[in-house]
Subunit: 468 residues, 2 copies
């Protein structure tokens, strides 16, 4: 009997899937946003998908896989973009999508199982006490809270609260280790850094406690500009108005809004750049005053004045922003891809201008305003009209040469997608929590190759993947 | 019959007070914080106090006073510090303290009469839907919302939302003009600038619509430091943590906390500088992690771990901060006074250090962190060990010479207390709304003397006050 067959027998009574078609489907995420990852990860698949209903079942799976020496890759809804939840060494995909309980809601906080869908948590918090989570990805309606914490960094709402990594944006995590006898750990404060944005390489998050904030019926607003830099400056000024509550600010260069936002196209000329906004309803009089002051933008659409048909039929503003901008682009033109850029404070506008002028329509700008270490600045998720991997790398280099760090979404490892250095805290915790290195193999270079030279121009290639 | 006697007859049926003792009491505010104003304004009094019960009664008073040519100075609770509500030309004090209705509470906003006490509005908003106002002065339990808007600028909560002047921090005001037929105006957006922080010189605010935010049971925390600059740096770093929700951050130099915070004295050594904080309850684990990271501060007190007796007996943290720091000082040592300083971003810490080293214990530091035009920085309300007006003016000059603008709390005019220039918007509105110049005479120099030279070193002296 093979190891996998033995494991399957060992997990008798749990929800197990071994149909190769379904296993392959549950072994994938949105890695295909990247033409580079698309080629590298196309054939990745697990042997089994196990879907636990409870933490006790998670522990049972981890214990059995540890004994059998089988890899475990944890998955939420598979909405990541860098193969975060893709099993490079086959084995088990641990699918948390059925651990969805929202357990407790208090003023300012919620406790939920890791597989709860973000929009479902918000629906429960709104119904309970008119609260909502501080931030969410554009995949609000499909992503799980555990997947967001393990594989994401911020999103809609980060203009008010910064990123997930910032102290206070996650209150507590419950984490199971991958040992002969899995431990259940409760983490708060700086301990959270051990497992946040670690792709599940050093523990399995089963329960989260997250801060909540006041929920409002956010007004979706599109403001059109003849010149992209006017949209950027408008957005920058709006983001700096301390008293005007918004939830997202995303200026996007023409012709992206017209060409890719198909259901909103009727409001947008092809040569218009658009700031996609979410504004608090009670802030609309102040917002109108700001638009009048600023004098360069034209309000194209606002959901609080839209027809009933438009309100029902049009996607929400957050599904035009962050990586949904890219997604809508890919649906229209599968040849495009994107980058992730930081324009550091306080020179964000000048750096945006430099990049916009350098690349023009080869790299149409898409900015997302955020708080970052106490300052207001912007990330970029520019569209890239992809021609070759060499040119993509050159575009990355030109950003970096101009003081705009890239968080490379064309790499599946933690280090290459992030800060390009070993995260000593996460590595140390992996040594303790996953001594056999069975959790999501191949994603943490520091584990696979402690001597890896991050200053090399090489791309790390996980041996397990070479065999796949 | 005198004009005042005729007016009194004309206002038959309204609540009118003419007992000189009571009129004098209702003609005063906290001007005596300043030894300069104490001398100038000591004898100020009105002829009558009229206390309307409704907007209709306000209109009746304004109409009658306009016809009689009698001055009207509007008053909330009289908690201002610069004589904002003191009647320099006698006449009527219009006391709005009985117009206290909280009319409507919605998600994110409240409508109230101008005389409603700020704490009472919060109590209603909390009971209704766990909401509270974004910001309040340290006189939370006594100040009116209308008085705060007409005479204040920000306070507890400004670390999250900036100041009242910032677009979005006031939604709508209802304003009555001083004309033969008083008009009722509804103002939103940039129009609000006409009457905000105008001391009631160009209209009477009768109703306000203010934004609300989520209410929490804020945890009061005192953190002690051996060195004031460590308290300042700790506060600066805390203020820049985007995900850690606080409501106030006030580092105060030794020996002020020990010497003036009498009921907290048992927690504080005389040589300890203290950061007085309000932290969201669900942020306490993150706060503890920050204190551990920062490693220089010692938590002296936290209300969530205090004895029942301490929780009941000790004043709340906001009554140690802003101008309550000064008030507590004045109770212990009536010879002190204070200043109001802006330490501009991004050099706030270096400027604080320079001033702290320059003045030492003559001007013990007291900072209040705020958002200001999109950045985190601090105001100062330093204690001044007062010796003479000449030395006070020298201390002011030394601040300004070192790039720290002073908002002078020893002046009763709008211009001298603020930006030292004509506010053209407020002046233009006064010409329209108060053509006879009867509203709070003597407070707007631009009205009294259009040719006044603000660059002169003179102090403006209102002729009406000379006669008083």
């Amino acid at each position: 009997m093979s190891a996998i067959a033995a494991l399957k027998a060992d997990l008798e009574g749990l929800q197990i899937e071994d149909n190769p078609q379904i296993v392959r489907q549950k072994s994938r995420d949105f890695f295909w946003y990247s033409p580079v990852l698309k080629q590298q990860l196309e054939d990745v698949t697990a042997d089994l998908v196990v879907t636990p209903k409870s933490e006790a079942e998670v522990i049972r799976v981890l214990k059995a896989c540890y004994a059998a020496g089988v890899a475990v890759t944890t998955r939420g809804a598979g909405t990541g973009n860098y193969g975060q939840a893709m099993p490079l060494s086959r084995g088990v995909v641990l699918n948390l999508a059925e651990m969805t309980a929202v357990r407790d809601i208090r003023p300012g906080s919620v406790v939920a199982e890791a597989g709860a869908i973000i929009a479902d948590i918000d629906a429960a918090a709104r119904a309970h006490s008119n609260q909502e989570l501080r931030m969410h990805p554009s995949t609000y309606r499909t992503a799980t809270i555990g997947g967001f914490i393990a594989g994401g960094s911020g999103g809609v709402g980060s203009i008010n609260w910064g990123g997930l990594r910032d102290l206070g944006n996650v209150i507590r995590l419950r984490v199971i280790t991958m040992e002969a006898e899995p431990q259940v750990l409760e983490m708060t404060g700086d301990d959270l850094q051990k497992v946040m944005h670690a792709y599940g390489t050093n523990g399995v998050i089963t329960e989260v406690e997250m801060p909540l904030t006041a929920a409002y019926d956010w007004v979706d607003v599109l403001v059109g500009f003849d010149d992209f830099m006017d949209a950027a400056v408008f957005s920058d000024e709006l983001a700096n108005l301390d008293g005007l509550l918004v939830k997202n600010i995303a200026p996007i260069a023409a012709p992206v809004p017209h060409d890719y936002f198909l259901r909103h196209r009727k409001f947008i000329r092809r040569d218009q750049s658009v700031a996609v906004l979410m504004v608090a309803p009670f802030a609309m009089p102040a917002f109108e005053a700001f638009v009048a002051r600023q004098a360069k933008g034209e309000v194209l659409y606002r959901s609080d004045r839209a027809s009933e048909e438009d309100r029902t039929r049009l996607p929400p503003a957050y599904e035009l922003a962050w990586n949904h901008t890219t997604l809508r682009g890919l649906r229209v033109d599968p040849s495009i891809t994107y980058l992730q850029v930081l324009y550091p404070f306080p020179d964000q506008i000048e750096r945006v201008r430099t990049m916009h002028e350098l690349f023009g329509d080869e790299v149409p700008a898409h900015l997302e305003y955020v708080r970052f270490d106490g300052n207001i600045t912007c990330f970029g998720l520019p569209i890239v009209r992809y021609t070759s991997e060499a040119r993509l790398n050159e575009i990355i280099r030109l950003h970096e040469d101009n003081g705009c760090p890239i968080f490379n979404p064309h790499r599946y490892t933690l280090e290459e997608g992030g800060m390009k250095r070993t995260d000593a805290v996460q590595l140390a915790f992996k040594k303790q929590a996953d001594p056999k290195g069975l959790l999501n193999p191949g994603k943490m270079i520091a584990w696979e190759n402690p001597d890896y030279d991050f200053s090399s121009d090489q791309v790390f290639l996980f041996p397990g993947l070479q065999q796949a």
